[in-house]
């Protein structure tokens, strides 16, 4: 009740009381006012509440509350899912289609079942790319010595498709490690994969020899056997640190898969058990 309406209500009450007092005075002190008496029946045939209304209200009320609870639950479930999506997975990575050194189309699906370590760079890169690629070769070599390792493919993708034709990329990358796969493609294909991995690249001004340096993101991307982006490693991480991180991810992935597998096996056995019982 707002302030104004409360004041109005008070004044109304005072008026009523003064009226009563006045009638009292006129009728003499001994006389009692006989207000029409009303039977205090709230329930039953004559009261406002009957079994019928009571029942209807009850049913409606229960239905309403159930519906509200259902809505709330639904809302919470939605929020839970949203939170999980936001926290659990970054929208980085995704399928790509590029060209390898033998001019074959290479699709990211080909690497499903294997981990991928991807680095973006260019063959005319003065210092950072060679350093990073040597680091990546060391990471792959060290991983392969470890028993937790479940198979990893080192991949180099050029951000300079004009100069780095598939052949050039292959020649360049094999010098770092024969295990690496070097990928190039059309400008569109490179643009697409870079967009998916949020890689920035920008060719600098050309000099007299038409030579130029491409400024680009220096990050290694780790993708799991299901083709999902899992982690990234910047220039500041050492080879040993990267190996440790990747092994941890591989271990976690394996555990998740095995627990999922044992769960399904459990389900299958219980289902079978039920079948045997029923048949």
């Amino acid at each position: 009740m707002s302030f104004c309406s409360r004041r109005f209500f008070l004044r109304f009450q005072i008026n009523q009381i003064s009226k009563l007092n006045f009638s009292n005075v006129s009728g003499g002190p001994s006389q009692r006012i006989e207000l029409p008496k009303r039977k205090k029946i709230f329930f039953g045939k004559d009261g406002p509440i009957t079994w019928k209304t009571f029942g209807i209200t009850g049913v409606l009320g229960v239905g309403m509350v159930t519906y509200l609870l259902y809505l709330k639950e639904e809302q919470e479930e939605k929020q839970r899912k949203e939170r999980k999506r936001q926290l659990g997975k970054a929208k980085i990575g995704g399928p790509f289609e590029l060209i390898d050194g033998s001019n074959n189309i290479v699709k990211s699906e080909q690497f499903l079942g294997k981990w991928m370590l991807i680095y973006f760079g260019f063959s005319h890169c003065p210092d950072i790319c060679p350093d990073e690629l040597e680091k990546m070769a060391l990471v792959i070599d060290n991983l392969e010595k470890n028993e937790i390792n479940t198979g990893i493919q080192g991949i180099f993708i050029t951000v300079d498709p004009d100069r780095d034709t598939p052949k050039v990329v292959e020649k360049y990358i094999k010098e770092f490690s024969p295990k690496f796969i070097g990928l190039s493609g059309t400008s569109d294909q490179i643009q697409q994969v870079c967009k998916k991995y949020r890689v920035y690249y920008s060719p600098g001004k050309k000099d007299v020899d038409n030579d130029y340096i491409v400024d680009h993101t220096i990050i290694m991307y780790l993708v799991n056997p299901e083709g999902e982006f899992i982690d990234y490693f910047g220039q500041n991480k050492t080879a040993d640190e990267i190996v440790e991180h990747i092994l941890l991810h591989m271990f976690k992935f394996k555990q998740e898969k095995s627990s999922m597998l044992s769960n399904t096996i459990d389900k299958i056995t219980t289902l079978r058990g039920q079948k045997i019982v029923t048949s």
Partner: protein, 80 residues
């Protein structure tokens, strides 16, 4: 070294880097006087593509600036 369409091989890269390091070493010993290191500079320019020389020159200045910042700190601006 003039730039070619081809990238530098591993040995060429190592050669370029070591000639650069020699030149940088000389600069540090001679208080950044390029005249005193002209031979090394020539070698360095022969071993590396022009773009790389430009890139490394910028990097040298940046590294020096960074070192100075770390050693001496920065001079606060007098904004009054």
């Amino acid at each position: 070294m003039s730039s070619k369409e081809e990238f530098l091989s591993k040995s060429q890269r190592t050669q370029c880097w070591s000639s650069r390091d020699n030149f940088w070493e000389c600069l540090r010993c001679n208080n950044d006087k390029v005249e005193k290191c002209s031979d090394l500079r020539e070698n360095y320019e022969k071993a590396c593509p022009i773009q790389w020389v430009k890139h490394f020159d910028r990097k040298y200045n940046y590294l020096k600036f960074k070192e100075k910042m770390e050693k001496e700190g920065y001079e606060p601006l007098n904004e009054k």
